[in-house]
Amino acid sequence: MGSQGGFYQSKEFLDLVKSIGEARSKAEEDRIVLNEIETLKRRISEPDIPKRKMKEYIIRLVYVEMLGHDASFGYIHAVKMTHDDSLLVKRTGYLAVTLFLNEDHDLIILIVNTIQKDLKSDNYLVVCAALNAVCKLINEETIPAVLPQVVELLGHPKEAVRKKAIMALHRFYQKSPSSVSHLVSNFRKRLCDNDPGVMGATLCPLFDLITIDVNSFKDLVVSFVSILKQVAERRLPKAYDYHQMPAPFIQIKLLKILALLGSGDKQASENMYTVVGDLFRKCDSSSNIGNAILYECICCVSSIYPNAKLLESAADVISRFLKSDSHNLKYMGIDALGRLIKISPDIAEQHQLAVIDCLEDPDDTLKRKTFELLYKMTKSTNVEVIVDRMIDYMISINDNHYKTEIASRCVELAEQFAPSNQWFIQTMNKVFEHAGDLVNIKVAHNLMRLIAEGFGEDDDSADSQLRSSAVESYLRILGEPKLPSVFLQVICWVLGEYGTADGKFSASYITGKLCDVAEAYSNDETVKAYAVTALMKIYAFEIAARRKVDLLPECHSLMEELLASHSTDLQQRAYELQAVIGLDAHAVECIMPSDASCEDIEVDKGLSFLNGYVEESIEKGAQPYIPESERSGMLNISNFRNQDHHEASSHGLRFEAYELPKPTVQSRIPPALLASTELVPVPEPMYLRESYQTPSVPSVSSDAGSSELKLRLDGVQKKWGKPTYSPATSTSNSTAQKTVNGVTQVDGASSTNSRTRETYDSRKSQVEISPEKQKLAASLFGGSSKTEKRPATGHKISKASTQMVKSHVPKSSMEVALEKTAPVQPAPDLLDLGEPTGTSVAPLVDPFKQLEGLLDTTQVGSAAAAKSPDIMAMYADTPAGIHDKDDGDLLSGLSKPPVTNMPGGTTTTQQEQRSKGPNPKDSLEKDALVRQMGVNPSSQNPNLFRDLLG
């Protein structure tokens, strides 16, 4: 279809595109674009521009902005364009505004009206254009303006409109969940739409809804399973096939939804086993899309209630992925392994060599994915190897984002699994040294706390050993140039607190070092402040120990300097230091007790020491303080109770606040009032909520205090958190735990045979593996089956499994399923092209537009060449050769069998190429046309003419 290949723009625009295409540098390109902007600015504000001209200007604006320049001067014209009556012009206007404006732009308010009008249009194409704009432009505030109309469009006779309306509602949901929360039933209804496209689109909002609240959609499990089954059985129209797979994108979406619904729910999961198992068997693993589905199956299997057979199939697919030559599949394999490892931890062992190969692969993406996997399987036996590797990699990269991530992972693993204090300190030092400025300041605080508190054991000698080894290592590191600020803060603090504690180093040595730090990093006020305070501590300890204090000359000069500092903080610290030095031993002991960093400092939050003052003022006639809640008259007794309950049971985060009707009021109640109502009983609604969420827990109504807090946390996590196999509380269902363990054990036993064989195979096939690699493998995977699992993966029960038994499945699921089977049946005539879409629209076009179109064709100067296809067609018959090298290129590209990266892609592409008769002719036409316009594919980009699919 050569008609689309024509170029309807003016010569000017083509010249612009051409000159930009030939620009040799970014600077040249910028110059051209700036020039163009000037032209457009001038032209666009001229009076009485014909619509067609204006349309082109707008497209030129889009082009300018696409190249990264500011075209905001023309936004208003694009907005005006959306008001136009002609769809042709309107469409350009909508395209431009959706590309130009973000949802918070001021101009949007000018478009809302037009959108409202267009949503009511008789022409479904206008409605579609408006819905496209709705998805991009409508923000939280303007949702109510269009919502009723969009909802109405869900019943539009055209499936394209219904589909877009669904997607628009999905967008609204993402922006403001409350605005569409009452429309959930509409989504459910659209799931049964006659048109598979609409059904497929509905899965998007449903996926989001289910992510947030699984429980209210459990009744749809059966429906989703039956849809998936029918899709897999090719019951959808052929048009939805993609590379011989039946509607693969819909399958993937459904699998994602099933993964959510089946998570921790045995009953729901059992419904899914058959269909997922079928998919494992049916999927064509030679095509990319087949593998995409297989990968999604693995994700699903690892999320739902474990099933031995499915896990085995998943493991098979993973090993196929890992053994593949394609990096993409290896990457997916590593990712899938990371998912499955949570359920069957020993699966990694058989792939150890593949994993190590990926770790050493030059491809950064693959390497990072592998580190992610290692992070997931770290335990105390292999932590040293893994963290060392991570740190080496961290040092080698420049990407700050990833550096931060990997640094925080190192810290986390080190804190969790450190085999020794020595190692821990060394590791932290390395992390701080190389990524110090990137790690969260909290990590530094944690490290200081850890050094101060020790590892929690009562062994004082171990703690002091830890401290002195830290001090020693820090003194050594201080010699290095350019340390990160955060690290220096830690060093200063530790040196001040423990530098002289073990008597190994003299005070003058430590203070000398601290003064050096303050001098070397004189631009960093925080470090300086830490250093001065550390100096003060050292001197205080010296004085308290009745030793003679000699202020070093450099310390003296530092103090002098800071006494006159512009920073009040530094100044104050310097004055404090000066004052402390002048005090006697007894006074110093009081203000700076030795090793007191772990002592709690009591803070009187109620400000009770001011009570006397308050009473005095009231006696003098001052107004007593009225809390805000009382002032606004909102106080009622139930709030008292709720608040009281929070205070009594938890001082942490108030998770339950979200579930109460008037959450805003509570937080305003001052603690003073609460104290007076301490004995009011805990309110009913809390318990109802709890017992609903954890029906099997017996202790709910009787217990109080910490266990209650834990329970509630759990319920809330279930509701708001991501549903995974999170560690369940010990109070919930011990029976279920047993059964699950049973299942996993059985799974392990039944698949051991194949597994060991495979391990053996893979080892045998790679005999030439270097001993180094084997050693690495051994240290990474060696003890995996014997040693303890990582705590988080140990118990993988979520109480949801018991909870759902009593869910509301029976009521509507049957009828929904019944409804479903009918509509999902192929309705071929719906999608049939026999119905000529063009004709139904044509009469709506107004005659003026046609005139306009006439103008259009006549004025398009150079592009008129496009209208002489006959001459061009002759090229098709002449063999190549007369043309220069580019044509040769093109033709050779055509004669060669098309090579695609995707193995499955080749066959269909070939078919398509063959089915398109005028293929070479088209290309030649295009070529000749462009040449006439003066565009020559220079050596700069010889690919310009090559078929993308060729």
């Binding site: 279809m1 008609s3 689309q4 290949g5 595109v17 889009v62 500011d70 042709l88 469409r91 395209l95 590309l99 973000n102 918070d104 998805c135 877009k164 997607m167 967008r171 993402q174 496209g197 497929g200 129209p237 993609y242 693969p248 994108f249 819909i250 990319n288 899309i289 995409a292 990968y295 999604e296 993409n328 997916m332 993406t365 990072r368 984002h401 092209l833 879409t837 063009g838 629209v841 044509a842 537009k849 306009e852 179109g853 259009d856 990266n901 995707m902 892609g905 592409t909 398509e912 089915s915 398109k916 462009v930 700069q940 980009n941 310009l944 003419f945 090559r946 993308l948 699919l949 060729g950």
Partner: protein
């Protein structure tokens, strides 16, 4: 969810950008610069995925043109690869053996097609035929305006093939 779609030539020239998540003009330029730097320098045998700022960017090269899509951590990369391929196939069907030049001069059409394929960062239609039919329906009006009604029959005939 797809956060943005990016078409960049091997020379680093931008051919098409579509942003589904809000990015300021400044951020956009930075993103394009950063990503084209990363992607264009990658070897042919490596993964088609890049982890970037906590997101993943899936890219695929067709002739001299890179199609990139930025997605969330938990999205399926292989699926995105096929969405890209799906788009290219539709472009190919629409333009008739599409080449980079088509997209250079008719970038607005590439946008229209993309709008029928993806909406709000999600795949809205997975049937090639439906997408083409809608785009053609819109083009029909254009065609009529251009007094080229004769090609409408061709269009439909082509699409039904």
């Amino acid at each position: 969810m797809i956060h943005f779609v990016l078409l960049v030539s091997r020379q680093g020239k931008v051919r098409l950008t579509k942003w589904y998540s809000p990015y300021s003009q400044k951020e956009r330029s930075k993103v394009i610069r950063e990503l084209s730097g990363i992607i264009l320098s990658r070897g042919p045998k490596l993964c088609n995925f890049v982890e970037w700022r906590g997101f993943k960017v899936v890219y695929k090269r067709y002739a001299g043109l890179y199609f990139c899509m930025c997605i969330n951590q938990d999205d399926n990369e292989l699926e995105i690869l096929d969405i890209i391929h799906h788009y290219v196939e539709i472009l190919d069907r629409y333009f008739g053996s599409v080449c980079e030049l088509d997209l250079i001069f008719n970038f607005h059409k590439a946008y229209y097609i993309l709008d029928e394929l993806l909406i709000a960062g999600e795949l809205q239609e997975s049937s090639k035929r439906t997408v083409l039919r809608l785009v053609d329906a819109q083009d029909c009006i254009v065609e009529i305006a251009h007094q080229q009604a004769s090609s409408v029959g061709n269009l439909i005939a082509q699409a039904t093939k």
